[in-house]
Amino acid sequence: MTTPPEIVLELTDICLSFGGLKAIKNVSLTVGKRELVGLIGPNGAGKTTLFNMTTGVYCPDQGTIALSGQTISGLPPHEINRRGIARTFQNIRLWGNMTVLDNVRAALHKTARAGLWQIIAASHHHARDEDRLREYAREQLAYFDLIRFENDLAKNLPYGEQRRLEIARALATNPTVLMLDEPVAGMNTGEKVHLMELIKRLQADRRLSILLIEHDMKVVMGICERVAVLDYGEKIAEGPPEAIQKDPRVIEAYLGAPQTTAATN
């Protein structure tokens, strides 16, 4: 065993309820620097809700969330993104009527340097800045093998390409932690393997910490260094993939089907 990496994202004792429903119960979770952590659990376990809290959509009823030691729970979503957390959505939420290139460029907006007056007057400074952003966005698209679609509307992309574009868009905000909500859902095995390789490559190239939700245990086992299991809003297990696969509580949560792709949908 190597020494555990420095902690980047830390959730401590988080609770959230919707009316009477306790969606998240005292969950604690950490993600280390350049670590790839898997988050699994049956339908309705609270995985997406945990993401929503981390990214500022909901404020936890109890507990704190910290990024590199600074508390971020309670901040609005855009501020949390600025501090370094970017995400994708379970049901793809691209900006459909914008082009593929513009989806990435809009996400680059915080690196734009021109002020309103310079924009309105179309100043040199602004024009150069736009050129720089365009080139950068196109490089990103090339990395994700999307450059040939750059001028297509995002909503017209094939499904798999939409998933990749969502990751590209999230990365354009230059995060330290990337949170992926079921990035390979609805893909066939070949596509899944392909995207998982891309994610692995990203982690290495970009020095990212990644938290990834996935239903398909096989996929998670393949690439994650550590896996946490959520069931009915509680964290029931955490550890290296091999140990998780053998954990009786996890097997029970997945209806006694540990090796197969239980509870896919």
């Binding site: 959509v57 970017a86 939420r93 691209l94 809009a106 996400a107 179309a122 024009a127 800045d129 999230a170």
Partner: protein, 337 residues
């Protein structure tokens, strides 16, 4: 890519060159065509110009940022009344008291007009800021109804302000404007909106329209961007109000009810939200059409509203469907490299 860089390095000059060229054409037109079409057609042209300014500025809010505002007439009223008050009570008396010959007087009059138009725009923009910060938290139809309410409140407050005429209306505003100024402002409005939406900030604005939650998750400060669009839209609506005041020489709050706001919404929607050329075409056509239909006066408004409903049912994306007119549509296309 050296080629692209050289092009954009000169883009400021290009922007100003285009605008100067446009201004020249407008002044030439005002000396020639507008001179001999007669007062009636001149007035229609002026209304078209004012409506273009209103439509394009609302398009920024409604078509690009996706924020449904039905309060544009309120900002127009505020801009109109404040600029008129400034000229009527301050600048016009000052101008009259100076013993000036014709030429210098004309120059100063134009300077005074620029000042009051800008002041009207700023007054409307401040109101836009005050209205926008609390209401833009609301979404969709709630925002629509809140902006409608704010617009009506502005109107009723003006109606009860006696020194600007109150229920009698504001009369004897100096006639300082005509074709040239109206189209200079309309051109500036188009230019500003175009430059803004083609920028990274503008794309963030469009992202907001497409999916606000996703935009926030990508670090876009949704409130700030919405307010920015709203304030800029209000600024140009205020200028348009000022132009109307100094052309008609008369203002009454009845011209600024929410029906007027809805009319501007119709321009944007029929032209196609997110298309500047669409707004321009729709504003022009829908200003001329009622005049042309004057024979069938009573059917005019009926067909107008029927058109709106049919358009929504059959072509909800509007005339231009969010695209811009491009010369390549009519000119033979050059082969692409």
């Amino acid at each position: 890519m050296p080629n692209r860089l050289t092009v954009s390095a000169s883009s400021t000059q290009r922007t100003f060159t285009w605008y100067a060229l446009y201004a020249l054409v407008i002044m030439l037109l005002s000396r020639t065509v507008v001179g001999w079409v007669g007062a009636y057609y001149e007035q229609i042209l002026i209304f078209i110009g004012i409506n273009i300014t209103l439509a394009v500025s609302l398009n920024l809010v409604l078509g690009f940022a996706g924020q449904f505002s039905i309060g544009h007439a309120g900002f127009m009223a505020l801009g109109g009344y404040s600029s008129a008050a400034l000229s009527y009570f301050v600048l016009n008396p000052a101008l009259m008291s100076l013993p000036l010959d014709g030429m210098l007087h004309a120059v100063l009059e134009n300077v005074a007009l620029a000042i009051v138009l800008f002041a009207g725009g700023i007054a409307a923009a401040i109101a836009g800021l005050l209205v926008g910060i609390p209401t833009l938290r609301l979404r969709g139809d709630y925002l629509a109804i809140a902006t409608l309410g704010m617009g009506e409140i502005i109107r009723v407050v003006i109606l009860n302000t006696n020194f600007v005429g109150g229920a009698r209306g504001f009369t004897d505003i100096p006639r300082w404007t005509g074709f040239t100024w109206v189209y200079l402002i309309a051109g500036a409005c188009v230019l500003v909106v175009r430059n803004l939406i083609a920028s990274t900030s503008g794309r963030a604005l469009t992202a907001l329209r497409e999916d606000e939650d996703a935009a926030a998750a990508m670090g876009i400060n949704t409130t700030r961007h919405k307010v920015m669009a709203f304030v800029l839209g209000a600024f140009f609506a205020g200028m348009a109000g000022g132009l109307l005041a100094h052309y008609m020489q008369y203002l009454h709050t009845n011209s600024f009810t929410f029906l007027r706001s809805i009319e501007i919404v119709v321009f944007v929607v029929l032209g196609g939200g997110g298309s500047i050329t669409g707004s321009i075409i729709a504003a022009a056509v829908l200003t001329v059409l009622p005049e042309a239909l004057r024979v069938a006066q009573s059917w005019r408004m009926v067909s107008y509203s029927l058109l709106l409903v049919i358009m929504m049912l059959t072509r909800p994306q509007g005339l231009m469907g969010g695209r811009e007119f491009h010369w390549s549509w009519i000119l033979p296309r050059r082969k692409q490299a």
